[in-house]
Symmetry: C2
Amino acid sequence: KPQIIAICNQKGGVGKTTCALNIAAGLTILGKKVLVVDFDPQAHLTYSFNIGAHDLKKTIYSVIKGEASLQETLIEHNGLKLLPANLDLTLVETEFATAPKREYILKNILTNIADVQYVIIDCPPASGFLTINALTCCHEIYIPLQMEFLALKGMSRLLSLIGEVKKSLNKELLVPRIIANRFDSRKKLNNAIMEKVLERFGRQVFNTIVRENIAVAEAPSFAQSIFEYAPKSHGAEDYLNLCKEIIKPQ
Amino acid sequence: KPQIIAICNQKGGVGKTTCALNIAAGLTILGKKVLVVDFDPQAHLTYSFNIGAHDLKKTIYSVIKGEASLQETLIEHNGLKLLPANLDLTLVETEFATAPKREYILKNILTNIADVQYVIIDCPPASGFLTINALTCCHEIYIPLQMEFLALKGMSRLLSLIGEVKKSLNKELLVPRIIANRFDSRKKLNNAIMEKVLERFGRQVFNTIVRENIAVAEAPSFAQSIFEYAPKSHGAEDYLNLCKEIIKPQ
Ligand SMILES: Nc1ncnc2c1ncn2[C@@H]1O[C@H](COP(=O)(O)OP(=O)(O)OP(=O)(O)O)[C@@H](O)[C@H]1O
Ligand SMILES: Nc1ncnc2c1ncn2[C@@H]1O[C@H](COP(=O)(O)OP(=O)(O)OP(=O)(O)O)[C@@H](O)[C@H]1O
Ligand SMILES: [Mg+2]
Ligand SMILES: [Mg+2]
């Protein structure tokens, strides 16, 4: 049975998609079988695989609606599997608005997954229907955080949402873990906020800090992970170390 | 009657809030009377004014619900007015879900505004109910864009939404203008994408490019605009030039 990890943060642009892509690729390099799920209607993860999301006939939406099987919808790419998305995914909130157990629709389509050791879910910048579904079906949550103003503000909001989901929808949820992203040690602001985050969250923060690295931002335009695009970069080094931390038993 | 400008981009973290804050401050410095509207339930603009959004009794939600007047809800700060938000704003989508003319709820509360020359609206990273309301009530749209992968992808999506709003809800909408943000001329990626954006959008792109500048990211943690925090910085220079471009008759 796979370990299911949701990558969440309702703040925009903190690196959810970048982490989903590179963690999935790094775990694959370390020999794991990975499924990465695009759970954002904006489909940036899907586009990062050089897939024209808007032209796809079968996406995670089709699987949720029972119009296609998970197997026929998955796309294989460089040794890992992608469950793609596109704008159709915006329809689920209204279509399932009155359905009982509507917080379990993602969990239901992932239940019978076989031959996968990790499922990584990329969430949208919102704390609504889709994110709640991801929080309901995962074993653990990774929160990418940029060490800037309002990072902590957004955290309290997200933590109280996680608390509510743990209480009524997913009692097994582990304590969320924080990925410090786009860190630039020359920036006073990054250092000051990092200090506060460590003070407040201590061992919840991954030891590996993902540094600001232009190669990380460039890789998706070549439909590559950081490992394929710039294997010797700081970005590749940081993401590989992060993945080693992920698979190490805690 | 004020000029109403919506700052939109469904992509997260591109600088909508930062632009709203600093454009409002810059226009104020240039002698204009400005109201800045926080239209994001995450309330980062409100927090940037050092206001504890979650503790507010009166916010834009109260005005929309008719529970408070606009006048008593506005907060004056350094010569400009803020219409604050907090998480209550997430309620409007469901509460007005079946209301006729629900795309006009923002327009309605801004109709009788007096003694204001510019209204700047900060939108959330989504293309849903709130953004549609902002697009319906504004005269023009500014789109902050980071010159990175997927910037253009997101643009096509946003432009088709704007097209739909123009056709059926706001026929007077002007062509949107693009603010290049966080530009770093040493980055090949920024230069390459900028070239594509200029090629496709030409005169829709503001001449002023807002450069990557750490002072811009630091200023809100001191509840200051870039002008108060670092008046001699590149950030202050760029935002002031942007504001001069804004007030210049086109
Ligand atoms: N470590 C890094 N170094 C440099 N650039 C980075 C890094 N991590 C992310 N980025 C860049 O930051 C931008 C935002 O990242 P990304 O799209 O992954 O964030 P997100 O949280 O998924 O955004 P959204 O909320 O819109 O879904 C992208 O252009 C990405 O390439
Ligand atoms: N010109 C700039 N130079 C340096 N940092 C910047 C600049 N513009 C924005 N930033 C930083 O980028 C981050 C994202 O900016 P901001 O919160 O304004 O984006 P947003 O589009 O409003 O995000 P969201 O989609 O979550 O509402 C912030 O930490 C901000 O301080
Ligand atoms: Mg994303
Ligand atoms: Mg914002």
